[in-house]
Every structure is written in structure tokens, then in C-alpha cells.
Amino acid sequence: MGNSVLLIEDEPNIIEAISFILSRDGWTVHSHSNGADASDEVLRRMPDVVVLDVMLPGKTGFEVLQEIRANVETAKIPVLMLTARGQSKDREKAESFGANMYMTKPFSNSEVLEKIKALVA
């Protein structure tokens, strides 16, 4: 398919697992593990989809999402929020900040893949 994903996540083994799944499905995967400059990385990579963790060092995923949406160049990139928090208020917050989809940890690999595919369909 040739689509690219930027995975913003600070847990290296999760990065490895998701990268493996997406790579085998034909995706080009890049990862970034710090919230502080994550939106710059999005601008640099201009991926087709961003998978964004909420709990990140430096800045929260919500802050990163706001920055992505505030920049006209990255504003329309689909974002899948990935977080350990399953509370409904976090989901509402993610949606209000412009997340296209939202998943809570622990997640299944197939679910991640399906959602990412759906975002570029």
C-alpha cells in the first residue's frame, strides 16, 4: 500500500510490536518517543496517519494533538489516540481536540491495524 505511519509512543516494546504488524502489512513506520518535539516530527515526516499516545514525556498527547491541528500543514492528518486511560472524559477530550479515532490500552493488534487502515480508506 505504501502508506506511512508515525508512531508517537514512549514504550519501546510497544513501538516494536506495532511497527512489526504494520510493516508486515506494507506500511512504512517511523517512531518518535518524546512529546516535547512530537509535532515537529509530524511536520517533518508528514505521515498518512499518526498514532499518538497520551502519556508522553515532555508534553501530553493532548497537547501534541492540539499542535498538530493548529498547524495548517498537519491539521488534516488523521490521528489515532492510544492511551492507558480508558475514562470517557479522556475520550471526549481527545475527540474535542480533533482525534479521528481513539483506542485504549491494552489493545489487540488486529484492532490497531483495522483502525489505521480505516483512517486512510
Binding site: E11, I14, E16, A17, I21, M55, A84, K105, P106, N109
Partner: protein, 432 residues
């Protein structure tokens, strides 16, 4: 209705309880049934020998008929009704209820007390859970690690054609993650169950210090008598249950306390108090700073006649540095306090004394005269910006003409609705 005027109701209640007919009781004490009926309906005063005779026939203590329910029960019932403003309780018939049904009255009073204890316990636990950075970090770690294990394991199970290098890598990841999970789980269990490791205290060093000071009525006798004291003074009390001490905080407190006690001996403080009740004026009389007089007033012998003070100090980030609790004003165990407290106002205008009458929203709160000031903790310097510490002295007040400003404990457990200072939703309300 006055308590004494309900003697008749109590007689009637006791008579019915004993299954004695009105006619029989009247005959036993030598009065007509009609007259006894008037007495029982509180339409005739009764006392003297007649009341003694009736008490004897009914086999009850005279006081039970003449005084009715104990004041403590009545007070508890009043509080119970006040705690449930939504229920239309017949407050005017409180004593009648307590007098006629003493057992039920005690039960209601007792249960109201139990409910209050449980609510307090829930508040403390919620406060702890929602503000405990260790718990938040540990739970996040657990969920992230579980996610990683699940993802790696499902790759191994679902991928038949996975290369050996990748297989080994995911095996190793699962092994590492399971180790992390075990460590985090173990530390969580140890943290949540104090019995796992009794040497690990759930309290902060500040809590421990306050408890130890409270055990001594906030009064370090040896310092008052100019003896040398260090943290060991507290840990040698022979009690196995004494909280573990964080020595640097304790020694730091004791050093400051000793210095203040030496500067403001008890007699000087007493002289100042006879002249004024304004802490700033007391500081002038004693020729000390306002924070020093705050500290001296808060940490001194609890004697009858002395005003009871609470005290708090915090740094510019709002973290507490020193505290002495006072009844009627709750302090959060973790995190910061309510932004509306005068001590935070003082931080915005350093060196300017602030005074306000405040009262916390919620149960058991009392109005307080709150004196606050923020002063630099670092020496004045052209090369270093000052770091300020806010000090707040809380004095219980009985009554005031002015309405107290309503404040909270902290947002998480604050019931004030639509508060402009709210920074997070309360577990006691519908949030923002």
C-alpha cells in the same frame, strides 16, 4: 416545646411501655384518671411527690422523667437533621422523639456519626488515590507493560511464518516486560498494603513530623527549657508505633523552632498577647518577623485560655513546607490546597500582610481568621531572584459580623459549585 414541659409525654410513653393502664396508674398514685390524662398530654405541670410516686410505680429513674433524653443525644439528632437538609425533619418534636423512643434516637444519632466517619474515610481515600503520583505512575506502567506483552504475544501466536530473529526478539521483549510487570506489581502491593512492609510509611515526612508534634501537644519541652534536641528526641519515645521520621525535615524544623523559641520566650509571647490579638502587632512588640510569630503561636503549649491556631507554609509551587492542623479546617494530604486560601493571595503580593475570614465548604468546617504573608526565604541579593514562602496562621473564631469567604480543601474534594478557581472536577459534584 421546653424539655421540662414534656414530662407528661415521658410518663405516658413509659406507662404504655410497661403496659399499665392509665386508670391503674392514676389509682396507684392517688389521682383521677382524668387528671393523669391532662398530665400525660402536658396540660398540667407536675413535680414534687406526685412525680416521685409515678416514677416509683413506673420503676424508672426520676431524672429520666424530669430531664428526658440526654443532651448529647439531642445534639446528635439535631446534627443528623442538619446533615440532611433535603429531608423535612420535625425538628420542633426532636425531644419528644428522643424521649418517647430513646433507643431509636440513639440509633439514629449513632448511625449519623458512623456515616460521617465513613464519608471522611472516603474523602481521605479519594484524595489519596487522585493525588498520589506514585499510584498514577505505577498504574500507567502496569497498563503499558500489559499492552506490550499482549501485543508481542499475539504476534508470536498469530504469525506462523515469523523469522527466527523476530521471534527471539519478541520472546525477549515478553521476558523483559513480564519482569517489569512483576516488579511494578510487587511495589504496588507493598504500597497499597502496609502490612507487607511495616517499615514503609504511607505518610509524607511532613505528616510524620506533624503526628509526632501532635503527640507532644505541639510543644517541645526540651527546646522550651533550652536543651539540645534533634530528630532522635522523637524516635526514642519507646513506642514501636511511632511513625518513621525523615530526619532532615525534622532537624530543619527543630533548628528553626529552637531559634524562634529563643527569640520569643513564653513570657514575652504572653505579654504580647495581653496587649493585642493581632499577630502583626505581636510581631512588632516581640521585634520579630510575622512568620516567626505565626510559628510561635502555632507550636506552643496547649493551655486553657490560649487561642488555638493552625499554621501552614508553602513554597511558590504551592507545596506545603510546614503545617499544624487545627480543628475545623481540613488540609489535603497530598497535592496543593485551595487557590482561594489567603496564603496564595499573599504569594501574589509579597511582604504585604493579608487577612480574611474564611470557612471551608463541607462538614465540620469552622470559620477562621486567616492571616497570611509571603516573605523571601533567600537573603536579599542583586544576583539571585528571591524565592518566596507563604505563611498562613489560622485562628478559630466563634462569631463574626462578616460572612466568611467560602473556600475549599482542594478542588478534588471540594463541593463548591461553579467556583471560578476550580482547576479540576470534584468527586463530590458534577465537575466544572
Amino acid at each position: 416545646m421546653p424539655r421540662a414541659s414534656l414530662i407528661g409525654s415521658r410518663i405516658r410513653e413509659r406507662r404504655i411501655l410497661k403496659e399499665i393502664r392509665q386508670t391503674d396508674l392514676a389509682k396507684s398514685v392517688g389521682i383521677s384518671p382524668a387528671y393523669l390524662n391532662l398530665i400525660e398530654h402536658n396540660r398540667r405541670r407536675i413535680g414534687g411527690k406526685l412525680l416521685l410516686d409515678i416514677a416509683e410505680v413506673l420503676q424508672v429513674e426520676l431524672a429520666l422523667l424530669s430531664e428526658g433524653a440526654e443532651a448529647a443525644v439531642l445534639s446528635a439528632l439535631q446534627k443528623a437533621s442538619a446533615d440532611q437538609p433535603g429531608i423535612n425533619v420535625e425538628v420542633e418534636r426532636l425531644e419528644e422523639f428522643a424521649g418517647r423512643f430513646p433507643g431509636w434516637a440513639q440509633l439514629v444519632a449513632h448511625q449519623d456519626g458512623e456515616i460521617e466517619n465513613l464519608k471522611n474515610a472516603v474523602e481521605v481515600l479519594n484524595d489519596r488515590l487522585s493525588h498520589d503520583p506514585f499510584l498514577a505512575a505505577a498504574l500507567h506502567e502496569v497498563i503499558s507493560t500489559v499492552s506490550s506483552i499482549r501485543s508481542s504475544a499475539s504476534i508470536l501466536v498469530e504469525s506462523d511464518d515469523i523469522e527466527k530473529e523476530w521471534r527471539d526478539r519478541f520472546h525477549r521483549n515478553i521476558f523483559e516486560d513480564s519482569g517489569r510487570l512483576a516488579d511494578t506489581s510487587e511495589s504496588l502491593v507493598g504500597y497499597l498494603d502496609p502490612a507487607q512492609d511495616e517499615s514503609v510509611s504511607q505518610d509524607t515526612p511532613l505528616d510524620n513530623l506533624e503526628k509526632l508534634l501532635a503527640d507532644q501537644d505541639f510543644f517541645v519541652q526540651k527546646i522550651e527549657s533550652k536543651a539540645q534536641v534533634d530528630a532522635a528526641h522523637f524516635s526514642k519515645d519507646g513506642s514501636d508505633k511511632a511513625p518513621s521520621l525523615d530526619q532532615p525535615e525534622t532537624d530543619q524544623f527543630l533548628m528553626r523552632h529552637r531559634s524562634i523559641v529563643e527569640t520569643i520566650p513564653s513570657k514575652l509571647l504572653e505579654q504580647a498577647e495581653t496587649q493585642t490579638d493581632d499577630p502583626a502587632e505581636m510581631a512588632t512588640i516581640c521585634q520579630v518577623s510575622i512568620p516567626d510569630i505565626f510559628h510561635r503561636l502555632a507550636f506552643r503549649p496547649v493551655q486553657s485560655g490560649n487561642a488555638q491556631y493552625g499554621y501552614l507554609s508553602s513554597d511558590m509551587a504551592g507545596a506545603f513546607l510546614s503545617k499544624r492542623s487545627v480543628e475545623g479546617f481540613s488540609l489535603p494530604r497530598l497535592g496543593v490546597g485551595c487557590t482561594l486560601w489567603p496564603m496564595y493571595t499573599a504569594l501574589a503580593q509579597p511582604n504585604v500582610p493579608v487577612v480574611e475570614i474564611i470557612k471551608q465548604a463541607g462538614r465540620g468546617a469552622e470559620p477562621m481568621m486567616a492571616y497570611a504573608i509571603a516573605v523571601p526565604e533567600t537573603p536579599q541579593s542583586f544576583s539571585q531572584k528571591p524565592r518566596y514562602v507563604a505563611h498562613m496562621l489560622l485562628k478559630q473564631i466563634v462569631s463574626s459580623d462578616a460572612d466568611p469567604k467560602l473556600v475549599g480543601v482542594n478542588c478534588r474534594i471540594c463541593p463548591i459549585e461553579k467556583c471560578s478557581a476550580r482547576r479540576e472536577a470534584s468527586i463530590l459534584s458534577n465537575g466544572f
